[in-house]
Amino acid sequence: MVETPLLEVRDVWKAFGGVQAVAGVSLTLPRGEVRALIGPNGAGKTTLLNLLTGQLACDGGVVLFKRERISGLPPERIWRRGISRTFQVTATFASLTVLENVQVAILSHQGRSRDLFSRTGRLAREAALDFLKRVGLEDQAENVCASLSFGDLKRLELAIALANEPELLVLDEPTAGMAPQERMDLMALAVTIVRDRAVSVLFTEHDMDVVFAAAERIMVLHQGRVIAEGTPRAVRDDPQVQAIYLGGLG
């Protein structure tokens, strides 16, 4: 069966001043695949994600999503096409309650962000609670988000990112700063949620245990280039990867 890839990246470039952060990356991501993007600090992982979701503009190359060009579009338009993301530094709306955080995202998905007259309270409330249930935050729904623990904030961000029923979920270090067991739990949660919806996931991660537990395929980025791609086993055994990055692993 020949399927069109969900995401196709062709020869994407990005430089900051004199530093070539992303140097000709190409990749194709099939529907439903969970893929990890790994590499040492400064390899260009976050930059690449920012290029895909529109926070940064490419210097060269194209990004196709469901065969349509999305490079050059602003982040809000890319989100509307069905790509959602979380940020490395947790990004939530601190003055809103947990529930309202998700409500705002759902209302945006429903095209009601500029509704000037309805009362927000009950709008999309059930749907929002449903997302909170999925990430296990329903008990915290009425709390102001500034009062949440770090791990709960990460869960909340995941719930926000799910609000538009994305086809591709981009996670930038979803478990950074969490305790080891919490990390495995959160990533397992993310994978379970996306599995039954055939959502593709592209995530960066420093914790190799999390990567090998969650990812179906792994891409290794080094100095802005893809140096290896394959199954976890193949990547682990790749001598070049071992030399540059994994070092003593496995």
Binding site: V104, L107, H109, R114, D115, S118, N164
Partner: protein, 617 residues
């Protein structure tokens, strides 16, 4: 040709003063990240102080020069005192509070000058040895200006040498480009900040003292010079001393030639048009560096739950009952006071939507209030519409202006946003102020009275109450709507908000339009209650008043703005009964609010109320 050259020299001489003031402001901003409104006040104070010292010092002719040296030193000392006592407390506070605290200093110094020197214009003595004129190409040019032209570059050079050749100067430059780094190097930041503030204030004072023999000393020198200085600094680039020089020369020359070639309506507006153009094309100024703005959570105004005042129902019912039943029993004067409070409440509440809910620090909100007032007056007087139609359409005039100006402003954020809103308000002010044929210039428009059926105080009050109820109800509804929540989300975390499909600029622009509409309605109520409109309605002090009202009520509570407007107006009435120095008192109140009650009165009561209820229940 000769005329042009002399005009150019005059422009350059003016530029030297602007440069001194602007380089001081820029240095202070670069290091402390505070936009110091009080900078112009130090300039004014030094000019007055110098004029007194000249006559008081027993030094004969040389007392002039002694005064020019001593006055800036005295002012710099005062600046240091203010930095240590006040500003030091708020370096980490959101930008709004910093700006308002420096504005409190403006108010106090303004009234202090009136107290010590009176409100009549003064002229300084001519400088011994430099009075008179010299002929240049057959035209006479003041000798003193020539001396200033020679002195100016000397100061620029010394400043450059200080910044590049001394350890302290290098620290200042390092702090300007990376504050954390300087902290990490073990430099005592506290005293670096104080030192820079004193130096910057001294530069302003020097300009004021040197200006003393050239211009009439007036009590509005402070706002005139601070607005021009903002323009210079924004054009040149905040934090760049050489940007200040470039900006000053551009503005000085532009003004000198603008007077020759442009129609009068544009004399004041031209510099702001240049500023707006620069901000649109290069938001960080010609020589400034774009900086990744690291706004604290909640942006320029800080975090807050906002939007909802959970007062018990009987409070609301009581307020409503009083609003309806009381006025027929009151003397006419107090009914007009209530009308004014309603107008101001709309003005303040619409600003609260932008500043509190939206995190957009508007310093030019009076433009929309004023354009609502002028819209009403012009529609009635020039378009000959009946009064009710003019009243109903006026808010649309303000909303249109808000959408037009807003389209440029929403591209920026933080203090740059504040600057651009101020620039647009000044453009509107300048045009209204000088377009005599259409707006009546500073004579205003008189005879803007409600139609006969609405002309009694209570009837007009009823109209105002209905209009205000509609406007405030609309704002309340908007705040609690998906739009309002999304606006708060955009304030809390712009990037996240974009990544849930929100077009930030369009969203903020819509907020601008809504706020403009409601401010315009307030302006229309105001215009017909006064029976006249004046350019003051659009002026910078008016914009700051609206911010003060919002702050009194509490930045994050919509209902707070109305309370703030009422408290403000009543304070105004009470205090002006006992003292002519209302501004100084207001400044004191403002400083207290910023330092002690940053969440405003309503925020304060709200917090107390919640605490009481939790402890009881």
């Amino acid at each position: 040709m000769a005329l042009l050259i002399v005009q150019l020299l005059t422009g350059l001489a003016n530029a030297m003063f602007l440069f001194l003031v602007a380089s001081g402001l820029s240095l202070i901003f670069g290091v402390t990240r505070i936009v110091n409104f009080a900078h112009g006040s130090f300039y004014m104070l030094a000019a007055y102080l110098a004029s007194t010292l000249v006559t008081a010092l027993p030094l004969g002719p040389s007392s002039f020069y002694a005064a020019v040296i001593l006055a800036p030193l005295g002012v710099a000392l005062l600046g240091g005192l203010i930095e240590v006592c006040l500003l030091r407390r708020i370096y980490r506070a959101p930008a709004l509070y910093q700006l308002l605290l420096t504005f409190a200093v403006v108010l106090v110094i303004g009234d202090a000058v009136k107290f010590f020197w009176g409100t009549e214009n003064r002229t300084g003595p001519s400088p011994p040895g430099l009075s008179g004129s010299v002929p240049i190409l057959g035209q006479l040019f003041p000798t003193y200006d020539l001396a200033i032209l020679l002195l100016g570059p000397l100061f620029a050079l010394s400043l450059w040498a200080m910044l590049h050749r001394t350890r302290w100067g290098i620290l200042i430059r390092a702090a300007t480009s990376d504050r954390e780094m300087v902290g990490a190097l073990g430099v005592n930041q506290t005293w670096l900040f104080t030192g820079v503030f004193v130096l910057g204030t001294w530069l302003a004072g020097l300009a004021g003292a040197l200006q003393m023999p050239r211009v009439a000393l007036t009590t509005v020198m402070d706002s005139t010079v601070i607005v021009e200085t903002f323009v210079v600094v924004v054009i040149g680039g905040m934090g760049s001393a050489f940007g200040a020089l470039l900006g000053a020369v551009l503005i000085g020359v532009l003004q000198a030639f603008g007077i020759l070639w442009l129609p009068r309506e544009f004399h004041l507006a031209i510099v702001f048009i240049l500023m707006a153009a620069v901000l649109i094309l290069r938001p960080w100024g010609l020589l400034g560096r774009p900086e990744a703005e690291t706004l604290p959570p909640g942006g320029a105004v800080g975090l807050g739950a906002g939007g909802r005042l959970r007062a018990p129902g009987w409070v609301w019912a009581g307020v409503l009952l009083m609003a309806v039943a009381l006025p027929p029993l009151l003397p006419a004067y107090y009914v007009w006071v209530l009308v004014e409070i309603l107008a101001l409440a709309l003005f303040a509440a619409s600003l609260q939507l932008l500043v509190g809910t939206g995190g957009m620090l508007s310093f030019g909100h009076a433009a929309y209030f004023g354009l609502g007032a002028y819209g009403a007056a012009l529609l009635m007087k020039r378009a000959a519409l009946p009064m009710p139609a003019a009243f109903a359409l006026a808010p649309l005039v303000a909303a249109a202006a808000a959408l037009l100006f807003g389209a440029f402003c929403v591209r920026l954020s933080g203090v740059y946003f504040a600057m651009l809103t101020l620039a647009f308000a000044q453009i509107a002010f300048a045009i209204v102020h000088q377009w005599y044929d259409f707006t009546g210039g500073d004579n205003g428009i008189l005879g803007v009275w409600p139609s006969a059926s609405l002309a009694t105080p209570v009837r007009y009050y009823t109209l105002a109450l209905l209009a205000a109820a509609v406007g405030l109800g609309f704002l309340w509804r908007v705040t609690g709507s998906p739009f309002g929540y999304t606006l708060r989300a955009a304030r809390d975390h712009p990037r996240r908000c974009q990544a849930i499909g929100v077009n930030l600029r369009a969203h903020r622009l819509l907020a601008f339009g809504v706020a403009g509409l409601c401010a315009g309605l307030g302006g229309a109520i105001f215009a017909f209650s006064k029976g006249s409109v004046f350019p003051d309605y659009l002026s910078m002090p008016m914009s700051v008043q609206s911010l003060v009202m919002v702050l009194i009520g509490g930045i994050h509570a919509l209902a707070g703005a109305s309370v703030g407007a009422a408290v403000y107006k009543l304070l105004d009435i009470v205090i002006t009964k006992y003292t002519g120095y209302w501004q100084a008192v207001l400044g004191g109140v403002l400083a207290c609010l910023v330092v002690a009650f940053p969440h405003g009165l309503v925020g304060f009561v709200q917090a107390r109320w919640t605490r009481m209820r939790t402890s009881l229940g």
